[in-house]
């Protein structure tokens, strides 16, 4: 008896990723596509890619996609879901997008308990624009706009969006995962599936924060970048579930 252990997801186009070697985007893309296929959602999914490296997400996702302005994913998702409640909506957002320019949209969509799924790619840096400081840049980390290292007195602190959003009553599920090892990748996929299931069940806002390596802008080899996620990033951004109302059935 043969068992299928690998197929190309139907929701993933057969295109070569433009992402750099060791980048987490392509892994995250694939995981989302696998989940969409396995949950049978493809026909009603509408994805919202951001400006940034993943602006070309629509070259890879074989589902309906609507690009939006930087930071506005949660507002656009709100409009889509309100106008078309039968859709399954996900936003795909980076740290500059979700945690800087789009903080207000994110917090308020979450607080309203919009039934949408957010995939938050945290790589601690602005990728496509060339490695500038992000709101999630670590203390002391050198970027093109924090060339002397992020100074807590001048540039403040890495912002923890999962922890902040978990405080809001409209939020159903928040988990922070990473895509830097096979074990973590498997956990990330489970989290993504849960974040879609929460939406299908109409329980409220769900987000998966993915710690994602950016070897190019971190000035590291892919192998070193994957290690750096464990050694440095998880110190500030610990992995785990920050909110899950599905654990107490009917209690919300």
């Amino acid at each position: 008896m043969m068992k299928t252990v690998y197929t190309h997801p139907k929701s993933l186009k057969k295109a070569v990723f433009h992402y750099c070697p060791g980048c987490g985007h392509s892994i995250a893309h694939r995981l989302i596509c696998e989940v969409i296929d396995e949950m049978g959602l493809r026909d009603k999914v509408i994805g919202i890619p951001p400006p940034g490296c993943s602006v070309f997400a629509y070259n890879y996702f074989d589902v309906d996609m609507a690009e939006c302005a930087h930071g506005r994913g949660a507002a656009v998702a709100t409009g889509i879901k309100r106008a078309f409640p039968g859709s399954v909506v996900f936003t795909y957002q980076g740290d500059g997008d979700l945690a800087a320019i789009g903080t207000a949209e994110t917090i308020h969509a979450a607080n309203r308990g919009e039934n949408v799924t957010t995939i938050f790619i945290n790589n601690a840096v602005y990728g496509m624009t060339g490695g500038q400081m992000a709101p999630t840049t670590l203390h002391g980390m050198k970027t093109t706009t924090s060339p002397y290292g992020r100074d807590r007195l001048l540039e403040g602190h890495p912002i923890r969006m999962s922890e902040i959003l978990a405080m809001l009553d409209g939020v159903a599920y928040i988990e922070r995962v990473a895509v830097n090892s096979p074990a973590n990748i498997r956990k990330a996929k489970k989290a993504i599936a849960k974040a879609f299931q929460v939406q299908l069940d109409g329980r409220g806002f769900a987000m998966v924060e993915i710690l994602s390596p950016c070897p190019t802008n971190w000035r590291m080899t892919p192998v070193k970048a994957w290690e750096w996620v464990d050694e440095e990033m998880t110190e500030i951004f610990p992995l785990g579930v920050f909110k899950d109302i599905t654990e107490k059935k009917g209690a919300d």
Partner: protein
Amino acid sequence: MTKVLMDGNSAIGEAAIRAGCQCYFGYPITPQNELTEYMATHLSRRKGCSFVQAESEIAAINMVYGASVVGARTMTSSSSPGISLKQEGISYLAACELPAVIVNMQRGGPGLGSISAAQSDYFQATRGGGHGDYRTIVLGPSSVQELADLTMRAFDLAEKYKIPVIILGDGVLGQMKEPVEFSREAPAVPSVREGALRGCGGHPSRIVKTFTSNPAELEEINWSLFRRYALIKKEETTYETFMLDDARLVVVAYGIAARIAKGAIKNVRAEGLKVGLMRPITLWPFPDEPLREMAKQVKQYLVFEMNMGQMLEDVQLALSGQGETAFYGRPGGVVPTPSEVARVISRLYYQKGLK
């Protein structure tokens, strides 16, 4: 159908619902709050409809974007400072060829300005307003009845040409009450625009996007937009004339200023001055050809606006030197009286020896 007494802001809301508006997204700002409140009361519980008080005007216009992506008739409203915040979203709507209705009940500016009526957002509205090469259809109502009629027309134009449409009203129009009649009944169920994103079941997946790394592709998108704009200009330009037949001087004014000008013209007509009115209803596309045609008969024009002279430039471009233009304006939210404007008209009339 019977007439009802309504304030202008509420009349827009009722007209929007009857035009099939499914989703409204707004943020409070004076002097348009009655519209947001009307939608909260009358749209939010309608079957299949949605109302969201957004966290900002930026969020509201992006919710409009989302609703339009999936084919809903959708609108937002604000007043001048809030409309500035919406420009990002309007640019994206224009780029993605998405229908939407945006109401600007203008107030005095610049900055936080005043909450009194003004017309100082004419440039912003008629020149695109946000970044990039694009236009929106801009409608300039001058009565509560016309607010209702043009709101319905705005939804139809938006759908027909896949373009954002701006209703450029003002604080006075929104606040004043007049009898109004609605020409249609609200649809029982919201319609879904053909070709909207609804998931890829049964057909290949689709993309709504604006970004391209290929300038040639983007150039063609711009050309394509402007071919449509040329068609809109040809098909949809509208204006009203008043007492024009024997006129030696024509006042050009839109919106509430045109209403004031009409009163002024009646005053000076009573004294035997031959003065008429040209009132653009579509501010973009601007009725430049009718004005050029008019210039064969009438050489003297007075542009009257509640700003420092914005539509004035469109009138001068339209006339291309074939007529002489004078300007009278009051900025900052000051609303002149008909007798004040009548004095300006009379002075110009005698100065130019038209008597």
